[in-house]
């Protein structure tokens, strides 16, 4: 059951968004995040929303599925709204007890709520439409130029791949260890916070030891397959910039220009 959790929730499809070079998608995500912090009025949100919906439609991922990602974070969203709504000084709109919502607060609250929501949805599109391998390959390719200043691009990408590979396996093992300790009377559901923390020791110690053992065996297996770092390595699946990637890049550039323009003009 735990096996079905996919970190980053990749949603496989043959859409044009899926087929874009991962570097384009990573760059877009950054540009998108930056754009959210540039705008300071409500109108651009409308344009951004239309843009996002367009991308989601192109990706063949159901809109409902994308928005599902907001649900587990509803507390965070509520908190963001509330803090801004109740704590911003200004013209009083409504109060109950010692809690006051001002006009400015309401504005600010909704604004921040939108920013956070769009942030979450925008970044989740990246992981939904890009497989873990493509992501690590894209990151590796983008970090490669930094190797001149000793950034271990390949090693970082390799670490990410191995981590992604072993997350389901380690989750499985956690489950097994928990069951074994529960069979010996361990209680992982105590209401007492201290007891609960202590109860993690029989879980974490074996898990860590196991993780180190795995790392050891994996390293030996990798060396046996002639792994010696990134030098001289080729890739079976190379990522190439194609026509659609150039088009997508220009769209991103255009998007940023529009956003910045709106900000300058003050809309």
């Amino acid at each position: 059951m735990l096996k079905d959790i996919t970190i980053g929730q990749y949603y496989p499809s043959e859409s044009i968004i899926h087929k874009l070079d991962p570097r384009v998608k990573i760059t877009f995500t950054f540009a998108f995040m930056v754009s959210l912090f540039i705008i300071n009025t409500f109108f651009p949100y409308l344009l951004i929303a239309i843009f996002l919906v367009g991308i989601i439609k192109l990706s063949n991922i159901p809109l409902k599925y994308v928005l599902k990602g907001l649900r587990p974070l509803w507390i965070l969203l509520l908190l963001t709204f509330s803090i801004n709504a109740f704590l911003t000084p200004g013209e009083e709109l409504w109060s109950i007890g010692f809690l006051t919502i001002t006009r400015e607060g309401l504005n600010q609250g909704i604004f921040m709520l939108l920013r956070l929501s769009f942030l979450i949805v925008g970044t989740s599109i990246l992981t939904l439409a890009t497989s873990p391998i493509e992501l690590t390959d894209g990151i590796e390719k983008m970090l490669n130029p930094l190797r001149v200043i000793k950034v271990p691009a390949h090693e970082l990408a390799m670490m990410m791949t191995i981590a992604l590979r072993f997350i389901p396996t380690l989750l499985d093992e956690t489950d097994k260890i928990m069951k074994a300790q529960m069979a010996r009377g361990a209680d992982f559901e105590s209401k007492n916070v201290i007891k609960r923390a202590k109860s993690l020791i029989p879980l974490l110690v074996p898990l860590f030891i196991s993780a180190f053992r795995r790392a050891d065996e994996l390293a030996m297996a990798m060396e046996s397959r002639c792994y010696r770092g990134g030098d001289g390595r080729t890739r079976m699946k190379e990522i190439f910039f194609g026509k659609k990637d150039y088009i997508a890049s220009s769209i991103i550039g255009f998007y940023l220009i529009v956003i910045i323009g709106l900000r300058i003009v003050g809309i």
């Binding site: 096996k3 873990p132 391998i133 791949t161 191995i162 992604l164 590979r165 389901p168 396996t169 499985d172 053992r213 795995r214 065996e217 994996l218 030996m220 297996a221 990798m222 060396e223 046996s224 397959r225 002639c226 792994y227 010696r228 001289g232 390595r233 080729t234 890739r235 079976m236 699946k237 190379e238």
Partner: protein, 276 residues
Amino acid sequence: MDKMIRIENLTFEYTDGDRVVKAIDNVSLDIKKGEFVAIIGHNGSGKSTLAKHLNAILIPTSGKVFVADMDTSDIENTWAIRQVAGMVFQNPDNQLVATVVEEDVAFGPENLGIEPKEIRARVDEALKNVRMTEFAKKAPHLLSGGQKQRVAIAGIIAMKPQCIVLDEPTAMLDPRGRKEVMDTVYRLNQEEKITVINITHFMEEAVNADKIFVMENGRVIMQGTPTEIFKEVKKLKELGLDVPQMTELAYELKEEGLDISSEILTVEEMVNKLWP
């Protein structure tokens, strides 16, 4: 080069705390190209340590190991040796490094700097060879133990080795998984003529070998064909090893005065001998 592996007076020692352990004690043996060899012994006999010398994970304290005429103690040879002698380990999980099966099979060739189109061709062929083609795009953690080991084997044969060393490859598998893996390995030896060295304590896996080496206390104390080895029922039992049930039965019948050779390994052979 007709000797795939040459081991000459190999001794391997390591320090454990304040004492020196002699894991391998003056072992000499040869393995010919295309042979299917089994090395058997109980845990601690030195068989796994010996296996790790075959692809230069360990190098001798004294003596020499030659793989395809390359000296393992010369680090210049290490990578060439590891391409020639591939190794499959005991734990199916801790060998698979990628998030998708075909990516993992490609790992070895990628390390060798093979050109992408060629890697693709090798991966497809390797998966076909181990009968795992339909699982090419699946995630490793969803596979059974036997399937994982077959992917590991595919990852090795995609590097086009001349020999495969398997260090207790079925120890953690259920009977079905064991059969899947051994069938695959046996077929690779017969059809692709890859030299196979199988380290194991399961006697059924040694029964079909061309040659068996029995290890104890870091030494090779018996060597020969399966028939020659398994008829030494008493000795094998003293060493804490299993004997095929049929061979043991034949031995017992002989002890009771029946005129029957103790060179019987399978049920079929026994039936034919008893009630022809």
